[in-house]
Symmetry: C2
Subunit: 404 residues, 2 copies
Amino acid sequence: MKKLITLVAGLVIGGLSAFAQQALYGGPQVESPVINPDGTVTFRYQAPKAVKVEVTGDFLPTEKVEVEFNGQKMAFDAPGVGVLKEGQNGVWEYTTPFKVAPELYNYTFRVDGNTVIDPNNMWVNRDVASLTSVLLVPEAGARSDLYAIHAVPHGTVSKVWYHSDKQGFDRRLTVYTPAGYETSKAKYPVLYVLHGIGGDEDAWVTQGRATQILDNLIARGEAKPMIVVFTNGNISQEAAPLENSTGYTRPTMSLPQTMEGTFETAFPEIVKFIDSRYRTLAKKQFRAICGLSMGGFHTLNISLNYPDLFNYSGMFSAAIGVTDPSISPMYQDFDRKLAAYFAKKPALLWIGIGRTDFLIQSNNEFRAKLDAAGYPYKYMETDGGHIWRNWRIYLSEFVPLLFK
Amino acid sequence: MKKLITLVAGLVIGGLSAFAQQALYGGPQVESPVINPDGTVTFRYQAPKAVKVEVTGDFLPTEKVEVEFNGQKMAFDAPGVGVLKEGQNGVWEYTTPFKVAPELYNYTFRVDGNTVIDPNNMWVNRDVASLTSVLLVPEAGARSDLYAIHAVPHGTVSKVWYHSDKQGFDRRLTVYTPAGYETSKAKYPVLYVLHGIGGDEDAWVTQGRATQILDNLIARGEAKPMIVVFTNGNISQEAAPLENSTGYTRPTMSLPQTMEGTFETAFPEIVKFIDSRYRTLAKKQFRAICGLSMGGFHTLNISLNYPDLFNYSGMFSAAIGVTDPSISPMYQDFDRKLAAYFAKKPALLWIGIGRTDFLIQSNNEFRAKLDAAGYPYKYMETDGGHIWRNWRIYLSEFVPLLFK
């Protein structure tokens, strides 16, 4: 047995890059984050020579922050800061003075002003151009339990490429097929889920936990089994950053054709691809679309321009307001298209937004227009602003209403 | 148009978490890493109050490092260190004094002794329990060009769950179906690819760049279109860390049933699942298996115990040596099984290992045994040790030999 132990040790040490040795053998490991029995959370960071170590993340109460852009000042909610104290062996520590509510959070450390992720937490999400560490506080019965992985049947999550005739190149989608799809002969309804500005076809399955939400809602019997398609709304891109043949793409203010009509114009070719590739119920009655922020704007315009395509539309913190008709034919004749859309009696228009979202005014104006015309819709208002926490809530609320 | 610009700015600033603001608007962005026109690479890290900033990674020449485990000293190759110098605005910088050869590299910074990834590089891989930043230096004609994404037809990459009757729970696989699979009616050969100790079903598609290698080799006509299945060899786990219903799993020395025979014993149920789920050519002639390190050991034992299953077997830096028959019936009667395996004339046994790999002696002993018995095999010896660079090379060499 000694030979086995030596060999296994050799494999573990030698078989890893030298980077990993530290995590496995570099003395007492720093555990971070830790959810304590009393519900507080402790964050730790080892930095013996640091002067100041802070943690920031959306588990902390928010503060108002002013950002100046193009000479204009804009106020946004930014998470507060927790200050770590140095303890033994240069390990800095911060424990929240409150029970952290069940939720999925993102956080980073600031070490002497420099933002770094938690080196002791393998769970990292890319949020546009930044990496953040992730903390999930699930609790049986709490909504965040939907975001956890449970021992329930799991759908298949695929990265799939379709050819865009409009763009002349292949583009990537994320496709969820529910548990049982592959062994069934049944046809399935389809939900299309759109990301916000700066996001891509990965965003809803990383930050959004959409496939966990679907697995869990379907397993509970609270949602119908459905195919879910996560598109890339940056129509000039093949795929998410690092997945392009054009190399590394760093998000900048030169946006990749996001809100100028091309994505909406090209959307039917995605529906056509999905209907040809998967066993779908290829009718308006069995199609839904939703999106967050820019994706909510896309959702509205796609729904209005193709009123025979989608029976259910969900606008999550939608970026309503870009209706300058000179930008694209997609944005022309808004009121006429809205009337034509409702004349066809869609099963559901669902609107969700946070009370402190900077887009609430334009959403209120849009709802006033709907109210004045007597157009029906469902509305949900939540705490907080333009944040992923809300978009996960909206998806969890929207999905159970579909295809019933 | 002003309204549009303001709205888009609002979306970009407000629509991101506050974390992302820094990357997009936090003053002049630090670019790191940068491949310079002369082929050197510059690494930068902003840390105005740091005392010492170093970079370490496998782009640097290696140094011998001694590790003590269970009272035994073991020597391993560890990458060297580059020391960054502080410049303006607290931005530290290091430029390699040499042209960095085309390859895929992993690196991290050490800031005052603390290991952190590059906050300006979104490309991060999890390597067992650690995160590392990734640098790809591709070059037309160089092997590393196989690891880059090109504008060629892309296969579909899926995370798929199968039910393990042996274990009594669902387990996750990564499955690659080649471009054209979904629209073809043809049946395809299947390659099973196994990871090393501490790895999982993600390892070969992140660190291994296996799906890029497959896409590119198939597009060049250098490999047959094939289905590729990446298993999880930690048989007591459902899935990779963070994908388990049992919560966060941190790799430790209590290994999740890795080299005690259960994975090999249960392997036929994976083959059965794949043959039932996909359009496979379900015959030995059209099946291949390969693996790195522990996965090479698994490959050998699966090939010997099920000599009618695989026609092609690839052992990459294989952890040969655990043959104590008391551990599992899988490891009994090795010589007899070896003879029976070769009596059935498999199309290929392929062995690859690095010259400085700590496993080269046991591989040499195994080859001596094959030579003495006149058993045929192909052999490749490369520079370096027990590292991903070699495993990517071996996969690139092995795949073109299959199903011809």
